[in-house]
Structures are given as C-alpha cells and as structure tokens.
Amino acid sequence: MEAHDITLLSFQIQEDTFAVDALQVDHILEVPPVITSVPNTPSFMKGVINLHGNIIPVVDMRIILDKKDITNGADTSIIVINPTDQQDARLGVLVDMVKEVIETKRELLKETVLEGKKGMIDTFEGTLVLNDEFIHVIDLKNLTEVVVK
C-alpha cells in the first residue's frame, strides 16, 4: 500500500541520528551570521531569523536533547519545519548536520528504545534501523509542544 510509504529527512546531532517527516520540512538553511536573540526566553530558543521577509523562531535541537559541548561548524544547519502548514507555525530547528532523504515504509519503524531520557523530548514516532544505524524519528507534534511550553 502506497499510503504506508514515508519519506524522512535524517540529521545528525553529535553521535546520534534523528529524522523528521520530510513532508513537513519547508526549507533547509545554512546558519545565518546573526540569529536575533529574543529576551526572556528559554535557553533552547536561539532567537528569530528572517526568512524571505517572515520571522521564524529557531530552536537548538541540541539543547532540547540535552547535549553538552555544543559547537557550530560548517555543517550546522537549520531545518525549517511547518507541522500545520500555517505561516505562523513554522519553526527552525538547529542541527549539527543534515544527512539524507530516506524513502521507507511505516511498518519498518520499531518502537523507540533509548538508554536514558532524550532531554525534553517525551516521545518519538519510532526508530528505523538502516545499515546498522538507529534513526530516531522525531514526533514533531511533541516537539512543538515542548517549544510552546
């Protein structure tokens, strides 16, 4: 059944690989020279950027996942997601490196089992095992809830 096909965009955060539903990805951007910080916001909220005249908030996925020793390198990118397809619901997600687009089937997702809690994220959509690598698929609904909280 075609309905079960899913497309994922995978990305790297330090030693771990994650993915998001590619259909909900709007843009992939290089990190701009300036991310304007917004005062009095949680530390994962890096600030806002100007994307074609629209203001997009950017969160640092590494902080959300409770990683230490965060450094930005040449591969650091922003994945702009749009979970509800509304202008004001777009969110930039800062990751260490964008990897690849994966075509797969929903049935192949296994329940995510993680050693310890992954920062502020409560649930994942599942985990895909590909070439001996674990790819955890982020539940964007959960992510946006974390951000609004």
């Binding site: 910080s37 917004v38 005062p39 009095n40 909220m45 005249g53 004001d88 619901a89 969110l91 609004v148």
Partner: protein, 677 residues
C-alpha cells in the same frame, strides 16, 4: 461564465443590502427624508433588475413589490411609518435569504414568500384609493382587465453609443415590465472579448415580449428619448396575453440559445389560448450584465491583497539592502537610482497597507441591526450612538472582532438597559443609551462599549462565583477583581437556555477571542448606573512609526505614538534615584531599565543615559536603553505562535540590512512592571 456574474451580483447585492439597511436606519430617524427614500428605492430597483438578469426570479419578484412601495413613498402616495420600516427590515432578511439560496424550491419557503408578499401588498391596498389605481407606470397592474391585454414583440437594437448619453437601458426594460407581464431576452453574442471591449459602449440587443392593456404608442413612448440611437420595432403578435405560456417560453429559450432574434412570424403559428387565471410567473428575464458607465470602486479578493502586502514588504526589505549597498559603493548613478526606488517603494508600501485596512464601519451595520431588533423584541427603547466608526483597522483584526463585539452588545441590551418604566422608576430617562466608541490611544486602538443600564452588582457576581466553587467563600476581593471573575471560564451559566445571553455568559469566550488578536478586554461597572467594556487592540500587522533603539546586542522598535519625550541623563542622576524613580525637571518619574528587563549587561562606561519617556494609561514612565538609533517606519510582523508567551515583544520588524528588530509593546512593558512590584 454566467456563474461568475451571478457570484458577482450576489456580492454586490450584499453591499447594496448594506446600504439599504443603513438608509433604513437613518430613515427611521428622519421619516420625511427624500434623499433616503430615493436611496432605498434605487437599492430595491437594482436588486430587482439584477435579480431578473441573473436568474434570481423570486428575488426579482419579491423586490418588485418593495420597489412599488417605495415608489409610492417617493411620489408621496404613501407615508413612511414605523411599521413600514419594520416590514422593510424583515424584507432585507428575506432578500438576504433569497440571495443565498437562489430561487426557492421548498414548498414551505415559497409559501412563506407568498405570505410575505401579501404583507407588503397590504401596505399598498390600505392606502390605495381608487384614483391611485388609475396611475399608470408604477403601480401594480394586476388589476388591469386581462381580457383587454394584447401581446407585443419589442425589438430594441441600440447603437453602441447608447450608454454615453446617460441612458440606462435597464430602466427602459423595467418600464416595459411595468406595463404588464413581460419576458426579456438579451442577446450578447455581439459583446466582444475583453481585450477589445469598450466599457462605455453598448453591445447588447434586447427583445421583450409583453402582454399589456396599454396601446402600442404607450410602448413606443418608453423609447422616446433613445429613438435616435436605436432601431426599434414594436409588433403586435397576439390579441391575448400570451406571455408566460409554455410555447412562448420555449420560443424564448430557443432564441436565447441560438442567438437568432425572434420575428413576429414566429408567433403566427401559435394557437394562443386565453390566459389562465393563475398568475403567470413574472419577470423571467434573462439578460446579461451591461457595463455600468463608471467604476469608482472595485472588489478584490482579500487573498490577493494579502499577497500584495507580503510582496511589498519583501520589496521594501530588499530595497533597504540596495540602499545600504549604494551607500557603501558611492556610485552616484546607483545612489540616485536607489533614492528614486526608495521613494517609490515607500509610496507603494503606504498604498498597499492602506488598501489592506478596512474601516470599522463595515461591521457597524450588523451592530445597529442587532440593537434595533433586540430592543424591539424586548420593548426597550435604546439610542445606539457610534463614535469613531471611520477608524480603520487591519482586516484580520476586524474579522476576529465582530463576534465578541456582537456578544458584548447583546449583553448590554439583554441585561444592561432596563425597560422604560423600570428606568423611570430608577430616575433615568426612559430611553437607554449604548455608546460605541472607537479611537486610537498611543500604539493601540481602543473600542469602548458603554451603557447606562442597571450595571452589575459585584455582590451577586461574588456569590455566584463562590457557589460555583471558583473562589473560596472567605475570599477578599476588591470590586475590580470581582468583575474580573466574569471572564473566568466556568463562570458562565449555561443552564439558562434561550437565545438571550446571560451577562457573563460567554465572557470567557469574548476574552479568549480578543486575546487571539492580542487584545485585552476589561470591564467596569457601577451598580444602577451602567457598564463599560473596553477593548484594547494592538496594531499588529500594520505599519508603525517607530524609534529604533539598541539594548545589548539587539535592536528594538518603540512605537513613536507611545513616546512623549527623550531625555539624555547624566549617570549621576540615576545613581541618586531611589526605588526606580528619577527626578527630571523637578518632576518624579518611575523608570524601567530595559537592560535589566532583557537581562543584558549594563555598559558602565556610558557617558549619557538615554531615557525614553513612554506614556501609557495616562502615566509617563521612563525607559532606559543603551542607545537611540533613529526613527523608522516599519512593518510589524508577528513572531509566530511559538513566541506568543513573549509578552513585552509584540512583533518584529525586518531592517534594511535584513536584520531583525523587535517591536516593544510599551503598555505591556509598563503593566508587567507594575505586576512585579
């Protein structure tokens, strides 16, 4: 194609209804006003004509009767009365219904309409003296002896210039229809494609079949002032009234589909039976839009305007980047070109934003209607006064504002204003007043709805809140805090089922809806005196004149409208200050240090401290920033839903170099400070 015209007609008719309603409200206050009567007549007239043209036959028939009434009124045959106005108001609802549903198909609806038409006709018969019935053109011609009716085929082939002489062919067709049962056919096959169409020219040809007791000369007289600009044939086709008979309709639809004009011979074959006693379906006209001579305004879908505004914002941003580049490159040609582009894009932006604003007025008619209808239903006498209706707001704000406002007004009528004798007993004028006031205040728009009704008893509210378990029984609240309970969800009493809302019912919803557009709603009330509800709205999504300032590494915009003055202070002046109050020109002002609010480091080395005096709620408060950069006119963009909690920042603006400056909501800033104390 025709569907498109139909949709357009409905849209325009809604405007027309709006105008009609407005005129009716004014007429109620000034029943002799000729101009208003004329306006109402015209509105009915165009609804009738347009209705017939676009296949809204029931609408056309219905408005025809109303038109007749107002024709009588304007000719002094009938006097305007409250009853007539009420009837017309309900007729507006019926018209609205007909516009939305098109021709009626449900038997029930058809019956209702018939009853309604009888009510309208009752107005005509009550005052209809015998001599009036003899008057020709306009009065209903149903009474005319049907046996004397003959049928004519009128072929009206205007030259292109017809419209240029101030002649509206639709009037002429109307006059023919007024002579008796008539069917119009508009031939539009000569209308050229849009590219070569001359809007001031006429391309249509009409044929009208009419059954009338009037003479052929009477028919020709209709065209007396256009005879030079048209070819006109009036032929007798039958000695009886044949319009409305199926054979005739078949001929008409054949002519319409084939674009071949009917000739008198076409009717010779028919054996026409005498007209049946049942009233024929009238006004089955099929015409196509005739270009009106002048277009002073046009409709554009709001989606297109949103797109325009977005594009213009982008243009302005890029233009600013260009300016920056030009400055750095000192090429005189580029500099001067850039300046011109800057001027143009500024104008373009102002225009685009101006287009996207709509006056509050557009919604006020609904409010007036609500007040009128509800007060009539409840036998209350209410003067509804509107101030500041011309205030313009972003359409997104207005769209989200209507429901809460309707709700508030409903509350005022249902529970605020008392019955006339209750008012007299309370020592008030029998007529209550509801004042709707909209005005700019600083960077906000304030809408106030106040009534001089019975007000709210805080004790009752408190008891109810205790009863509902919203607050503890021994709670100590001041009056303001008690009234605020009205907005708490769960306060509403839904156990009373009626279309009349309880004061407090749904006020939580009102607050939530207003909060969605970043507005605030507050309530004040004095028992026995009245209630004031005030809504404070931001100007998000619109452009503001702002003062660009720097705090730490960021830039912020403070709306100029909120700024009173800017002072440069010696650091020593602050050092002497106590409890965040500074003395300037021997006046004491509280102040806020934005660097502390935003948790930025203070620059100790500063020689001068810039203090911006911001006014809010009649108070002036100083705001300290690192640096004042200058004035900017800027587009406020929303921060998106993830930063909604960020209260002090109401939006963000994209600067010329593409960087972002955040727009400070000064009243929230000052408000938050008060809360923290």
């Amino acid at each position: 194609m025709i569907d498109k015209f139909r949709a357009k007609f409905v849209e325009e008719s809604m405007d027309n209804l709006h105008d009609l309603e407005e005129a009716l409200f004014l007429l109620e206050k000034d029943m002799e006003n000729k101009e208003l009567i004329e306006r109402i007549f015209r509105a009915m007239h165009s609804l009738k004509g347009g209705g017939a043209m676009f296949g809204f036959n029931h609408l056309s028939d219905f408005t025809h009767h109303l038109e007749t009434i107002f024709d009588w009124v304007r000719n002094g045959k009938l006097k305007v009365s409250t009853d007539l106005i009420s009837l017309t108001f309900s007729a507006i609802d019926q018209i609205n219904f007909l516009l939305k549903t098109g021709d009626l198909s449900k038997e029930e609806d058809i019956q209702n309409q018939k009853v309604f038409i009888q009510r309208i006709q009752a107005f005509l018969t009550v005052t209809n003296s015998p001599s009036d019935a003899a008057s020709v053109n306009t009065a209903s011609d149903q009474e005319a002896g049907e046996s004397e009716e003959k049928s004519y085929l009128i072929s009206f082939i205007p030259q292109k210039e017809l419209l240029q002489n101030g002649t509206n062919p639709l009037y002429l067709l109307d006059d023919i229809h007024a002579l008796g049962d008539a069917l119009s056919i508009a031939y539009t096959h000569k209308v050229p494609s849009l590219e070569v169409l001359d809007a001031s020219a006429n391309y249509c040809i009409w044929q009208v079949l009419v059954s009338t007791a009037e003479s052929i000369n009477e028919i020709k007289d209709v065209f007396i002032f256009v005879e030079d600009e048209c070819e006109l044939h009036v032929d007798l086709i039958a000695e009886t009234a044949i319009v409305g008979q199926p054979e005739v309709k078949a001929l008409v639809s054949k002519a319409l589909s084939s674009n071949i004009l009917l000739t008198p011979d076409d009717f010779k074959k028919g054996q026409w039976a005498p007209k049946s006693q049942q009233p024929a379906v009238r006004d089955e006209k099929k015409k196509v839009a005739v270009k009106e001579h002048k277009i002073s305004s046009m409709r554009v879908s709001s989606h297109k305007i949103d797109e325009l505004v977005t594009l213009v914002s982008e243009l302005v941003t890029i233009q600013a980047q260009l300016s920056l580049y030009a400055e750095n490159n000192e090429d005189p040609t580029i500099v001067s070109l850039t300046e011109n582009i800057q001027k143009l894009s500024r104008q373009l932006r102002e225009n685009a934003f101006d287009i996207s604003l709509i006056p509050l007025q557009s919604e006020l008619m609904r409010f007036q209607r609500l007040v009128r209808d509800l007060s009539k239903d409840q036998n209350k006498d209410i003067d509804f006064i509107i101030e500041g209706g011309d205030l313009e707001l972003d359409k997104n704000i207005i769209e989200n504002l209507t429901d809460p406002l309707l709700h508030i007004l409903r509350n005022s009528i249902d529970h605020g204003i008392e019955l006339p004798d209750e008012r007299i007993a309370a020592g008030k004028a029998p007529k209550g007043t509801i004042l709707f006031k909209a005005f700019h205040s600083g960077a906000n728009v304030i809408i106030e709805i106040s009534d001089d009704g019975k007000g709210i008893d805080p004790e009752v509210i408190l008891q109810k809140a205790i009863h509902k378990g919203l607050v503890e029984a021994d709670v100590q609240l001041d009056k303001k805090e008690i009234l605020d309970l009205l907005f708490v969800s769960g306060f509403s009493t839904r156990d009373v089922v009626s279309d009349v809302s309880g004061r407090g019912v749904g006020m939580d919803v009102v607050r939530r809806k207003i909060a969605n557009i970043r507005g605030e709603v507050t309530i004040e009330s004095e028992k026995g005196k009245g209630t004031l509800i005030s809504i404070r709205l931001p100007l998000t999504l619109s452009i503001i004149d702002g003062l660009l300032v720097a705090v730490g590494s960021n830039q912020y915009v403070i709306p100029i409208s909120a700024i009173d003055k800017i002072y440069a202070l010696e650091p020593s002046q602050l050092k002497q200050s106590f409890n965040n109050v500074v003395v300037i020109d021997s006046e004491q002002y509280p102040y806020i240090d934005l660097r502390k609010v935003f948790q930025e480091e203070e620059k100790e080395s500063a020689e001068v401290i810039q203090m911006i005096m911001v006014k809010a709620e009649d108070k002036i408060t100083g705001v300290i920033v690192d640096n004042v950069i200058g004035e900017y006119q800027t587009v406020v963009k929303p921060l998106g839903k993830y930063l909604k909690k960020q209260e002090i920042i109401s939006g963000a603006s994209i600067m010329g170099d593409g960087t972002i400056a955040m727009v400070i909501d000064t009243s929230r800033l000052l408000h938050n400070r008060k809360l923290k104390k």
